[in-house]
Every structure is written in C-alpha cells, then in structure tokens.
C-alpha cells in the first residue's frame, strides 16, 4: 500500500482501541521476569557454551603478537577466536570500525578475541590468559584541539545558507555570539549487548538484542560473508537501546564466530566495563551560535555551526539540523565540520542531532531573550514560523508549537518566574525556573506485517518490528484490534523475528507510527479477504465487536474462518508528502530547580512537557516515552559525560558507577500534556513520533533554570557544580 495523499477518514478514526491508555500487553511478562531477553534462551539453546570478549588495551596501533595458547589450555575452554583464525571478515554497512580488531586496532576496547568455554566462570578466567602485545600508534583524541583540522563531511548537507547572515548579523540591534559544548554520552541501556548464536550447517540463528532486525541481518551476513537468507535474527525483547542497538555489535559477531569454532551454540554478553568503549556513543560537539534580532526581539539573523569528531569513515553529529526549521528569520546559515578522532565509534543516540543541538540552541535562545529584555516564552512565540524558513512555500504539516508554549507556561505557573536571575532564595536554596522548546523531525519508514485471522477467532500479527520499551507490542495490537473490530485481548502480537515481514524497526522515533501503518496496510488486505469470504463489500463493511456489519447484517468474524485461517501480508510505503510538507514534532519543556547556595548541588523539583506529536496511539505508553526522555535529558544536563583521556584515547569512566545516569532520587514527579492532534499527512495512523521529542530541549530547560536560580551561565555540559561554584554568593 502506498501513502501518497493525506489520510481521510479510516477505520482507525473509530478510536475504540487506538488512543486509549491501555496497559501494555507485555506487562505481565515483564513484571514477572518471564519475558525472554537475548541471553536467556535456555529454551532454544539448552547446551550453549559461554563466550567472553577481550578488548584492546590501546586506542590505536597494531597487535604485534597474540598468544592464545595458555587460554586454549585453560580448563573448560572450547575455542579462542581472534583475527588470526576467524577467517576473512567483512564490515557491516552500518559499522564504522570493524567488530573484531587485529592486527590493526581502531579504538580502545575494540574486540580482539573471544574465549569460549563450558561455563561463564571458565571463559572469564581464561580470557585473562590471552596475551596480546601491541605497538601503539599516535592518535588524535581531543575534539577541541582537532577542531582546526575538521573538514566538510561528504554526505548530507553540511552547509546551508539563506539570505545574507553576516550582513544581517552585523546590522542587528541585539546580538549573541556564544559557544557551547556537549560531551560524549553513553546509551548505557540496562541490558548489555547480548547474543546467543547457533549454527545449523551453514545457517546461523542469532537470538540477540537488536533494534533493527533486517538491517542487522544484512550486516551479520556481510560481516561473516554468508548469504543474508542464511541468517535468522530473533529479537523479541530488548532491554533498552536508545540507538546503541541499531547496529550489529561485537556480541553478535563474536558469538557467531565462537559458535562456529566451538561447534556449539555460544552466548556472549559484553561485560559492562567493556561496553562504553567497545560500542558506540553520542559524539561530543562544539557549537557556535550567533543570533541577531531587532530591538523588539525579531530574529534577523541566525547561524549555527557545529564541530564533532569520529573515526575515519564516520559521520558528523548533525547538531545544527533543528536550527534550519525551528525559528523564523530571513538570514540564516548552518555548518557542520567533522574531525577525525581515534576515539570509539560515534553514532546515533536518542534524537541524534537534535538532542545535542537543542542543548546548545535553547540556551542561546534564553540568552538572546534576556539580552532583548523579553520573557523567553514570549521570545519563542514571537519567532514562530508556520513554514520552512529556508523555503517559505513549504508548510509544516502541523505546527502547534506556540500552543505548546502557552499551555505549558500556564500549567507550570511560569508567571511566577523571577526575570532577574539569582533573586529567589528559600533557606539554603536558590530557586529557578527554566523553559526550552522541544523539536524533533518526524520520519516515516517503509514497514510491513502479516496478519492472520485464526479459526479460533484470534488475530495474530507478525512483523520483525522491535519493542525496545517503546510499547510496540501494545500499539500494534491496538491497531490490529481497531482495524478488525476486535477487543485487544483477542490479538496476539509477535515481534522481532527476521522470518516475519520486514518492518521499520525502532529508531529515529519513526517506529511507532511507521510500524502501525504497516500493520494497518496488512489489515486492510485482511479485511478485503474476509469481506470477500463473507460476500460483502470491504469498502462499506464495518468491523465492529467481533462482527462484520454490512447491509444491516451482523456476521461474526469467525464465520469467515470456519474453513481455515485467513492470512494477509502487506506493507506501507510513502510518496513525497514528506518533501511537500515539513513533518516535525513540537513541544515545550518547563523545569524548576533548586541549587544549594553553598555547595552548588542541583536538584530538580518539577518537570512538565507539553507535546504536539500527532495522534497519540496509547497515551499511557507515549507518556512513558516522554518521561523517560525527560529523565535522560536530566542526565545530559547534570551528570552524563564520557570523560576522554586525551593522552591515552579512551573513555575513562566506563562503567555505571563512574558514568552517572539519573537515579530515582534525581527525578521528581513528571507531568506530560499531549495536545489533541491528528496529522493526516504523516500516515493513515495520523500519528507521529514522540520518544525522541521528549529529550530534545530538556537539558537546556534545566540549564536555563540553573541560570535563573544562580545567575551563573554554564555553556559546557554537563552543568556540574565545579563549573560555577566560585561564582556563587559567599556563604
């Protein structure tokens, strides 16, 4: 099915199941520990052995010699695989660095060996006996000093310009020219990258934790040099991803190689202290933002430049992208430059581009509003645009940004904010309020599904879509139930298996809308088949309450399958609506903080997000996506930083004790408001993404609240007390 004209009324609009805040259908499994994650498949691989990965101890250079003889002789060891005996390996389309290093080493903790043994304890112990001699090469590890050597990235649109920024900026009544930095960040999902691999002849099955089943099936095949058809990926439950499990990682390849060498299924989980340097991370940025306005606060000129680094062949963090679309202004430019760094591979993490971009832009907006002498909510409202500012003929499909701001300001009690920073004190606490816009583009991706109405009357949905905590099981079930007029409890949803039709997968906040649109397409086909069986017109028949209603007659669905199951398979593809209209999601974040006037400790008291993101398919799970994103935004604001050792070229704080993410005590009660909205230009679901919108802007709202509380502006994330302690008032 192709979606190339805006949606009109369709069966989803009945909203009997879709749009309801139903409990997740996988809830009872997750809360009882019975949902099987990748490393827990004793049911399918009962005799598996255990692999333990050895990571490189240098950041860049070569393996001079590798001696595995001691490890191979260790008790219980079945195999040791290194680049020397792994056979020829390719590299996946989505990988920048190779997943098995040697002889060349591209980054710290790059896998150099996997030790396979009968037990986990034996594998771990023997891994310590793998002896590797390295020759270190000089590397480049510091973005700030490599900034000068950064070049224009090959792909994408590194430079954009409209009007004459320089001239307009020079002539502006009020100007801001400020530089911000965001650090490298780690996904730090709770489930480590994990895989069980089993070979049957030349066919490989991987029970793994992966967000994008089909991409990764292809990359596994490419890496191992086997046909894609010979690879099966199964990924029904994923313990968090946030972009870190978009791609094939070392756990999958090491498990596959280990299983081949050992002649047994092998389970590999990356040990936590290895994860942060072995896998991908959100790259650090340096961002320069210049804004020029009239005396009244209208933006005349806006420029956003960003520098980031990656391994050779990698890409930039696209931190300027939102600045092309978020605010009006006739003269504008953006630029991205990419430095070559020999740190671990940079790649997508929740809202890549916008998340770090908004961290900088939304402080800049707070700063320029203050310079103009305007309330930052009013400044944002004044500079709203209903069209693509680079191409005014191109409208937004929906843009209720101003309503988000106004609704949030009212609900949060924004009028109580003191315009003068550092002026509200309660006992030992300095108090402050902060606001930021939320913005993230809406992407749509081709997605397919198979639906089967069984003789029992149950409806089974199969698609290789994944649920990484996003609620896919439930919204897919709701979609199918709505389409067939069934209660949700008559739908079984099966996900994450490459033997199912190829879906959009989970990434870029496209998963919810795109995968349900694919299920919609399959259900349309199933409705036709059912109607045909019952001899009614599919276009006028109403599927309701387990019946098909047509020609004033009600026929139970089960009648259509009396002779056997009916199966339908289809997918949704998209035309050029995303070119004709700019599709984005919008919101506003409000935060109240208190800062200890003596120690600078920051605590968050209140958080509110107002979101306009199309139809909300399940307000309960969508709300969870947003509060989770707000929580990750708090981490970005206040604590998260992979610290680079600039001499040795690695992330030093590579475990969950030293890379701090928010804990319960950091997070107050969080409120989320969804504006009642449908976007018929997005898909027949009229939904958009929301899981990444929720993080965009949060960190800046926190940083702006800290400024409002203390009067000290911190432009380098995370906002930790050591960066402003000496500017606080005397105790």
């Amino acid at each position: 099915m192709k979606f190339d004209t805006p949606a009109t009324t369709n069966p989803i609009d009945r909203l009997k199941v879709v749009g309801k805040p139903v409990d997740r259908i996988d809830g009872p499994l997750k809360t009882t520990g019975t949902a099987p994650y990748a490393y827990e498949r004793h049911d399918v691989a009962p005799d598996h052995a255990y692999g333990y990965v050895v990571g490189s101890s240098i950041a860049k250079g070569r393996i001079v010699a590798i001696d595995t003889s001691k490890a191979r002789r260790a008790p219980g060891v079945l195999a040791v695989v290194t680049a020397q005996n792994a056979g020829k390996l390719g590299k996946g389309n989505f990988n920048t660095a190779r997943l098995l290093g040697g002889p060349d080493i591209e980054h710290y903790h790059q896998a150099v060996a996997v030790v396979v043994a009968e037990t986990f304890e034996q594998a771990r112990s023997a891994a310590q006996l793998v002896h590797v001699d390295y020759a270190r090469a000089k590397g480049t590890f510091d973005l700030a000093s490599a900034k000068g050597s950064a070049t224009k990235p090959k792909d994408g649109k590194p430079d954009t310009a409209v009007g004459d920024f320089d001239k307009a900026f020079a002539a502006s009544a009020v100007t801001l020219d400020a530089t911000y930095t965001t650090p490298d960040q780690s996904h730090a999902m709770m489930e480590p990258h994990a895989t069980i691999a089993a070979w049957e002849g030349d066919r490989l099955t991987l029970w793994t934790a992966n967000q994008m089943v089909d991409w990764s099936r292809g990359d596994v095949a490419k890496t191992l040099g086997i046909p894609k058809e010979n690879v099966r990926l199964v990924s029904p439950y994923i313990g968090g991803g946030f972009g870190g499990k978009l791609f094939v990682r070392a756990d999958a390849i090491m498990a596959a190689l280990g299983a081949r060498a050992a002649g047994r299924p092998v389970a590999v989980a990356l040990q936590r202290p290895l994860m942060m340097n072995n896998t991908t991370h959100r790259p650090a940025t340096i961002q320069r933002i210049r804004i020029g306005t009239s005396k009244e606060g209208k933006i005349d000129a806006i420029a956003h430049e960003s520098w980031s680094g990656d391994l050779p062949g990698g890409g930039p963090e696209t931190a300027v992208s939102q600045t092309r679309l978020l605010y009006a202004g006739p003269n504008r430019m953006t630029a991205m430059r990419l430095a070559v760094l020999d740190l671990p591979e940079g790649n997508a993490m929740r809202a890549p581009g916008e998340a770090p971009g908004m961290m900088a832009l939304e402080i800049a907006i707070d700063e320029i509003a203050e310079k103009v002498g305007m309330d930052p909510v009013e400044f944002r409202v004044l500079n709203d645009t209903q069209v693509d500012p680079e191409n005014p003929k191109r409208p937004f499909s929906q843009r209720r940004f101003v309503e988000c701001m106004r609704t949030g300001a009212k609900k949060f009690g924004w009028e109580r904010r003191a315009a003068r920073p550092g002026s509200v004190r309660e006992g030992r606490w300095l108090k402050g309020l902060g606001v930021a816009s939320a913005f993230r583009n809406n992407l749509v991706m081709k997605s397919a599904a198979r639906v089967r109405l069984e003789r029992s009357g149950r409806l089974v949905v199969e698609t290789d879509m994944t649920d990484i905590g996003t609620g896919s099981y439930t919204i897919i079930g709701q979609t199918a139930a709505e389409m067939l007029g069934l209660p949700l409890d008559r739908v079984d949803v099966r996900l994450g298996d490459s033997s199912f039709p190829v879906s959009a997968g989970s990434g870029g906040q496209w998963g919810g809308n795109s995968s349900t649109a694919g299920v919609y397409a399959a259900c349309v086909k199933l409705r036709e088949a059912i109607a045909q069986k019952l001899g009614v017109d599919a276009n006028t028949a109403v599927f309701d309450g387990g019946d098909v209603v047509a020609n004033d007659r009600r026929v139970p669905l089960t009648k259509a399958v009396a002779g056997g199951d009916i199966v339908a398979e289809d997918g949704m593809e998209y035309g050029d609506l995303d070119e004709r209209y700019q599709q984005s999601t919008f919101g506003a974040h409000f935060v109240e903080v208190r800062v200890d006037a003596a120690t600078g400790e920051i605590r968050i008291d209140r958080m509110l997000a107002v979101c306009a993101a199309g139809r909300i398919l399940n307000p309960k799970s969508a709300r969870s996506q947003v509060i989770g994103a707000m929580t990750m935004g708090v981490g970005a604001a206040l604590m998260e930083e992979l610290v680079v050792d600039k001499r040795l070229g690695f992330f030093v704080n590579h475990d969950l004790a030293l890379y701090e993410v928010p804990v319960h005590a950091d997070i107050p009660h969080q409120e989320v408001v969804f504006l009642d909205e449908t976007d018929p230009i997005s898909s027949p679901m009229k939904a958009k993404g929301v899981g990444e919108l929720g993080i965009c802007g949060v960190a800046a709202a926190v940083a702006n609240a800290v400024y409002n509380a203390t009067g000290v502006r911190v432009r380098d994330y995370p906002v930790t007390l050591d960066k402003f302690l000496d500017k606080l008032p005397p105790v």
């Binding site: 809830g27 809360t31 009882t32 520990g33 999902m189 313990g239 936590r272 799970s621 989770g628 319960h664």
Partner: protein, 215 residues
Amino acid sequence: MAPSNDWKFTRRDVLKMGAMSVTALAAPRLVAGGSESGLGATSKPVTAKVGMEVNGAQQALELDTRTTLLDALREHMHLTGTKKGCDHGQCGACTVIVDGRRINSCLTLAVMHEGAKVTTIEGLGRPGSLHPMQAAFVKHDGYQCGYCTPGQICSAVAVLDEIKADIPSHVTGDLTAKASFSRTEVRERMSGNICRCGAYSNIHDAIEEVAGGAA
C-alpha cells in the same frame, strides 16, 4: 597526624608520569601476575555443594565456587527473571530478596548462601496471578524495556518492609523518630535500582499505591 607535605607536583613531574603511564601501557594487562602460590588462572575449577530454598523450592547444586548467586539463578536454575545489568553492583537489576533482605545477587557467591531462603521475581507472582506490586507496575506503566523491572519490583517490595521495620534512610529527617513512608523516602531508597528508560516517576506512583493499600 599532620598532613603529609613531602612532595609537590611540578609540570615536569606530571609530564613524566604521563609519559611513564603511556610507556607502561604498551605492556599487556597490568595486574599482579601470579599468586604467591596456590591456585592460578590455569587451575581446575573448585566446586562446592550448596543447598538453598528458592521461591519455596529446595535446590541442591554443585557449583564452581566462583559462581555468583545471580549466575546460579540464571544459568543453573534457569530463573532468568533476575537480570544481569552490570555484574558489579552498580545498577540493581539483579536485586533479589535473601532471608528477607534485598541484595545485589551479582556481588555474592552462591556458596555463601547455604540454607538461605531466596525470593526472586518469579517467586513474587506469575502472569495471571501477579503480586500487588507487579500489578501496580503494570497499571502505572512503571517500566519500559522491562530489563530493570524485576529488580525494581523486588526492591520496591523490600523497601516497604524496610520502612515498616524502622530502617532510616539518607532523607529521613529525624533519626530518633520511627521511619515513615513518603515519596521522598521512596525516591531515595529506590536509588540503587537504575532505570535507563526513565520510568521513575511511574514507579513512584506504583509503590505509593501499594503502600497506601497496605497501610
């Protein structure tokens, strides 16, 4: 004792130190090689018998002494509801209740629990017969990916017991008064269970509901 002041960093020292560590790094793993004597990395595993009661059922195991309680549960008893998030006591996903107390099962050896009574998430409730805390997590959407969830629930159940048992916390105002329930107390006491999906606010709602019902 007076503070030691017998040294000073010079820029040269730091550079020298930096250089020294860089050089040292070219060598393989920097650990204290062999033991004085006794067992080493190439020695055969030592096994030991251990018996414990897990979720009401008696378990008799013979395990490599190195097996953690977590791995004994997951790999030997196939009770995979208890999760391995970090294996280093930094995340709380492995939380189980042993002899009435919540602990990180990754940082304790199975052989140290002879005769212990262990309750895991599977022992609290099953799909179709959920423990009130499990039901409250479902109702309040107190999870997303689900990986930290069993640990959160085991912890939440234990937290309510700890408050009843008058165990204070970092945020308890008056140490001489009896510990009592509040949302602030819940947030502090649950802080050993990281949820990267960020379901905290909903988890607090779930715990509050169960606490209210129990009071």
